[in-house]
């Protein structure tokens, strides 16, 4: 397949799975925004608005992580229930194109949700500069990439769609709810703070908190955990590692 054909395949898969269903049932869009907005709502309310900005950053990250869990569910459904993946395996479409197409479709679903968070970000603080905007975009793209790779790897091992109902929330819990994503890392007692580094979302949150100028706006939020280059390095390394895992451990052709 030429590059043109690969891009055509990728976009067709994204269009089939991400545009057509939404055109027929726009309520699908609410699915990706429901959880991130719920967290935002409760955290902002309980903190009387003081944690609104960190929660907006958390909402952005959770929206991206949700892409991975939705991808995992879609992949399992298409593989186990529909046998659609078998049809794709035995076709010129390669595994990375299929996964990227589905991941792009999930991204399309998340655009309205992300737009809400971007609007809140702009509305609740100083107008972000180009560098901050680029940081947010780059960070979210990396979170999208690693959550998709993780979703794909897990999905190839699931034999029943119900397993995704168990692992999806666990992945969200482990990656975004427990680590300092919706709240500043300085809120964790210093002794336990290193545990936060176990979640790759921590590095993403650190970058977003910096782009959101959290420490500058409110001294209680403290400085970022790591220097920006270290956050980038860690995030890129995790993404590369999960891609490597997907490429070597994910099962496209059954053993």
């Amino acid at each position: 397949m030429s590059v043109r054909h690969r891009l055509r395949s990728l976009w067709t898969i994204a269009y089939m799975n991400g545009v057509i269903p939404v055109r027929r049932q726009p309520l699908y869009l609410l699915n990706t925004i429901a959880s991130p907005l719920s967290f935002l709502f409760f955290i902002a309310l309980a903190s009387r608005g003081t944690l609104l900005r960190p929660a907006i950053a958390g909402g952005m990250i959770l929206t991206m992580i949700s892409i991975g869990t939705s991808l995992q569910a879609d992949l399992t459904h298409y593989k186990q229930d529909m046998k659609f993946q078998d049809l794709v395996v035995a076709s010129p479409v390669e595994a990375p194109i299929y996964v990227a197409g589905l991941a792009l479709s999930e991204f399309l679903y998340s655009i309205p949700g992300l737009s809400v968070f971007v609007a809140l970000w702009v509305a609740t603080g100083p107008l972000p500069g180009v560098f901050d905007a680029a940081t947010v975009i780059g960070t979210l793209l990396l979170v999208w990439a690693f959550s998709s790779a993780l979703g794909f790897t897990l999905a190839t091992y699931f034999e029943d769609i119900r397993e995704t109902f168990v692992f999806g929330p666990l992945v969200s819990l482990g990656l975004t709810v427990l680590p300092p994503v919706y709240y500043p890392a300085t809120f964790i007692p210093a002794a336990y703070r290193p545990l936060a580094f176990l979640s790759p979302a921590t590095y993403a949150a650190d970058l977003l908190h910096r782009a959101f100028s959290l420490g500058a706006l409110d001294p209680r939020f403290g400085p970022p955990l790591l220097a920006a280059p270290l956050d980038w390095l860690a995030l890129i390394a995790v993404t590369a590692g999960l891609f490597l895992l997907a490429a070597t451990k994910a099962r496209w052709r059954e053993p």
Partner: protein, 311 residues
Amino acid sequence: MPDALRSEELGKTYPHGKEPALDGVSLRISAGTVYGLIGRNGAGKTTFVRICSTQLLPSSGQVEVLGFDAVTTPREVRARIAVIPQESRPLYFLTIDELVFYHLRMRGMDRRIARERTDLVLRQMGLADRANTLVSRLSGGLRRRAMVAMVFASDAELLFLDEPTTGLDPLARREVWAAIQKARHEGRTVLLTTHYLDEAEALSARLALIERGRVVVEGTPSEIRSRVKYPFRVSLPRSLSEAELAPYGEVSGVEGGWLVFAREDSARELTKLALEKNLAVAMAPISLEDIFLQLVGRPLTEGEALAEEEP
């Protein structure tokens, strides 16, 4: 005629399986023909199809598809094949037209050609008047036809159809048969697995009967017929005893009577005897179902999931 598919001693034992799902299957399928693979559930048909269509790795043996090794060069094979997996279902949120059209686009086909092929195949499969109906609103049979249309519209040289007519009504089955015959006229090769022996016999140039992962018999339908001991069947009521019938051939008890497999002269003699006794009797050449019964020792429909075949 060159081989479209050649397997040598192909074997597969699933990781948690006790018995092999495939046990040394060697088959050759000529290009431009329809080849029927028949057998009971779990006999190994789907495992064979999944290995040949690069979805599954074999445990042993070799398989070459359209001149390419399916194990070491799957990419070359995948560019030239299309498959309807067993129990597969079409994407329910698409219309039939979208299902076929976007399947072609997903395979990398140019928009104009994809449009032409979609329109053509929908007409041929009798689906044109429902082209804009959502798949979720179709009956099971129509969904299956939509899947078949999807695969036939592709430019694949070799089509793997794993039980494509299961669940279809007789009329819909005939439409799928016509599409298979058309694919053959176009010079494409079709590997068809089926439970329906009439279907296999009507469509296939050659057949292989698989039981417990092994090929029991292989050849053209007439070659297969010639390999069984008794080429005729006589059905009779129970008023005759098994002992009376035994000298004529092989006697099987069936619902409401006896079935005797016999050579032609014995079958005629037995029919004459029954007519003299004013008994309802029917004599006919054996069907493929009967051949299965004679070779395997039980009917095609008896028992399920023989081996360790995974879905």
